[in-house]
């Protein structure tokens, strides 16, 4: 927070930026000082990736699969899952900070509420790149196809933005319940949003009820956008719906998290 203090006399936007960067640096420090804290976020999506590939790999033999490589099909989902876990962890960390009184100190600072939220959310976006890269490396190692630079860039963009959405969701719950006990709700809902999509199989091969849910779930567009390079070519038609879905989710959940932050009394 020193950076924010020194920037107090600077123009508002610069002070806000300094606060956001200071909060991001704090999250990074936590990662460096407690490396073990990042392990569950990295391990869980990796285990899911390897496990699902080993268990459901034969599904590619079904008619209607766009690829014969299940690892290519499932790796973007595991990367997004890692982003979801990381985002939810940001919510859990915020709840812990609240329990320890750290949030109270932030709230009495002159920094606007949206800046405090942005620091937490952007830190989660950056952190999400760690599990995503780890899972992707393992996927390439066991035979996933190269998605091309454009496919990879879009996939990483989706990962970072998904972590931001999950962090907004987690922050909203953390500020509402003010307890780490809300962690299962943060994680379960994030997991559900990502997996109630064509995560395991293409839309046409899903059971009718899941197909209906997946069609209205905006995260389906995100999964399809992240996956496109791994199972075919990258097109604008497969990209823009994912961007619109993420922008909408960010606006909605970001707005709700901000409302909770404004309602939080010191």
């Amino acid at each position: 927070m020193e950076a924010a203090t020194t920037a107090a006399a600077a123009p508002t936007w610069r002070a806000n930026l300094a606060t956001v960067l200071a909060l991001m640096a704090r999250a990074k420090n936590e990662l460096v000082r407690v490396p073990g804290a990042a392990i569950p976020g990295v391990l869980a999506p990796t285990i899911f990736f390897l496990g699902l590939n080993g268990v459901f790999g034969a599904l590619t033999e079904l008619q209607g699969f766009q690829t014969g490589s299940y690892e290519s099909f499932i790796v973007p989902v595991s990367m997004l899952q890692g982003a979801g876990f990381t985002g939810a962890a940001a919510g859990v960390n915020l709840a812990r900070d609240y329990e320890h009184g750290w949030v109270d100190r932030l709230l009495v600072s002159p920094a606007p509420r949206w800046v405090l939220l942005a620091g937490n959310v952007l830190a989660a976006s950056l952190r999400a790149l760690i599990p995503a890269t780890f899972v992707l490396t393992i996927a390439f190692f066991i035979g996933a196809e190269w998605p091309g630079f454009d496919g990879l860039a879009i996939c990483y963009l989706m990962v970072a933005a998904t972590a931001a959405v999950a962090a907004c969701w987690g922050s909203m719950l953390a500020l509402r319940f003010k307890s780490q006990s809300a962690a299962p709700l943060m994680q379960a809902a994030t997991m559900a949003k990502i997996l109630l999509t064509p995560a395991y199989a293409p839309l046409a091969l899903l059971q009718p009820w899941l197909e209906k849910v997946a069609k209205v779930n905006p995260v389906t567009q995100v999964v399809e956008a992240a996956r496109q390079g791994f199972v075919g070519s990258v097109t604008w038609a497969d990209t823009w719906p994912g961007l619109v879905a993420l922008a909408g989710l960010l606006l909605l959940l970001g707005g709700l998290a901000l409302r909770e932050m404004r309602r939080t009394n010191v």
């Binding site: 569950p40 285990i47 080993g54 034969a58 997996l195 109630l196």
Partner: protein, 261 residues
Amino acid sequence: MSELARSARVVRALGTRSIRQTFRRPQLISPIVVFPTLLLAIQTGGAGAGVELPGFPPVQSFLQFMLAGSMMQAMMLAGNSGGIAFAVDIEMGFTDRLFAAPIPRFAIVLGRLAGTAALGLFAAIWFLAIGLIFGAEIAGGVPGALLAMALTAAAALAVGGIGAAIALRSGSASVVQGLFPLVLVVLFLSSAFFPQELMVEPARTIAEYNPLSFIVEGVREPIISGIDATHTLEAVVAILGIVVLGLVLSSRALRHRLRVG
């Protein structure tokens, strides 16, 4: 009152306490109920077309096939949650007070395991109910359902023994919590979610020798085709093996805990 009756009272009291504790804390109950139910829905909806693959055993639906896998997942997580709660008791000094009380030490561990077994039974009933609500048939009828429930409860007790041993040895909830990924690994490397013959190598070979696969098949058989003596016996032997392992580890860890305090 005889020594045995007194121990039974302690086991019942501690078992009841552990069940209440689980239902009061969302972070303990959600891994047993919420996550496996969510995964059951998602995997049934997402990989349900897998029943059309050549070599898939004859089943009424993928949901019917998956019920045993979900029970196993909930059972394993009940064992893990029980270990976490036990470690929290050690951290907070509650177990020390029990050690100082005039009750047999084994009853303290058994009380925790009784609670875990009851949660395993609850998980089995929960998933059988979900299956029946969503149209899955229990091929073995009431006896088949009872067998599946009994095997799941016994397996929870067995797995809980290992969780309790690690809690006693480490005395740290975070160490036991760290086993969560291992639970997932053991599950994925078994036939819990898909027929072993259709799994991809090396998962297929590992699943062939994974004791959990024998327990899963023992629970699944009464659901998808009826009670089968061979599968039941294999499941019982696998559970007994884990019970023995848990007992050995728990007694060694208990001695260690009493020595270090």
